[in-house]
Amino acid sequence: MAETGVVARSPIAPAAPEIILAGWAVSARRSGAALTVTDCTPLTKVAIKAAPVGATAERLEVPFGRVSRQTWTLGDRDCSVMVVGSGPGEWLVLGPPGSQVSLIHQLSALAGDGDLVAVVDLSHGRALVRLTGSWAAEVLAKETAMDLGDSVCPDGAAFRSAVAGLAADVIRDDRDGTRSYLVGCERSSGQYLFDSLLESGAEFGIEVDGFVPPDI
């Protein structure tokens, strides 16, 4: 088998035109709209489970409900990585597409002694969508009961809750001062989540903006 033909596909059908970037079929569409939604599924997603309080938790330094952006050396490159405290004793690390092998390697090495640590690649198990624009919170407020106000959910906060009826991980990750959220759910419902956000954002003129690796 010719391995060059191996293309990874997100569960979300790319808006035309489709191109291949970093081994993923993604949308090449570019939007300058004030509210956009982007399929970020190509990002690498690795879950770590360990004791909520313990050596591993200490080394990861990110408490449950918070996000930290860090620069890690993956392979021979410095990469931007996002460490999300996604649950009690549970973290989700987001990295550029295709970085799972080195991420898993680094994370396994991080495991604290005496701590039972599980590092599981969820890159293909989760869909990830980014919603950006000043109306982003209004759109999400149609889909989730969580209070998205700054006092409860400031930039750099993360939570898991029901979004559009799905158990979803939400990360508030503003871009250049503009509201932005990453929303992740089980891969199989990715298209449904994406469509829901598009529908809810319609009244604010939402548009699809394609993914540009290593965007994180």
Partner: protein, 79 residues
């Protein structure tokens, strides 16, 4: 929608949780009589008032937790 206080996530809509009901201690399976075992399976106190119960935070932290709830008023509190 009532709110369930999750010790990990804070108060969340009850719809995010699965209801586990009154926890009943599991009898020792090696010694339990049928009567005891079936009590464990089927009998609950069904209190009208404050009761202790288990909930599972299905859409959140995926932890089983214990909450006290008044089954008449639906007031809740941490045990």
């Amino acid at each position: 929608m009532i709110l369930i206080p999750c010790p990990w996530c804070g108060s969340r809509d009850a719809g995010e949780f699965a209801y586990g009901g009154e926890p009943t201690p599991r009898p020792d399976p090696r010694t339990a009589t049928r009567e005891q075992w079936r009590g464990y399976l089927y009998l609950r106190n069904n209190v009208a008032g404050w009761t202790t119960e288990r909930w599972y935070h299905r859409m959140g932290c995926r932890r089983y937790l214990t909450v006290q709830r008044n089954t008449v008023t639906n007031e809740v509190r941490q045990p």
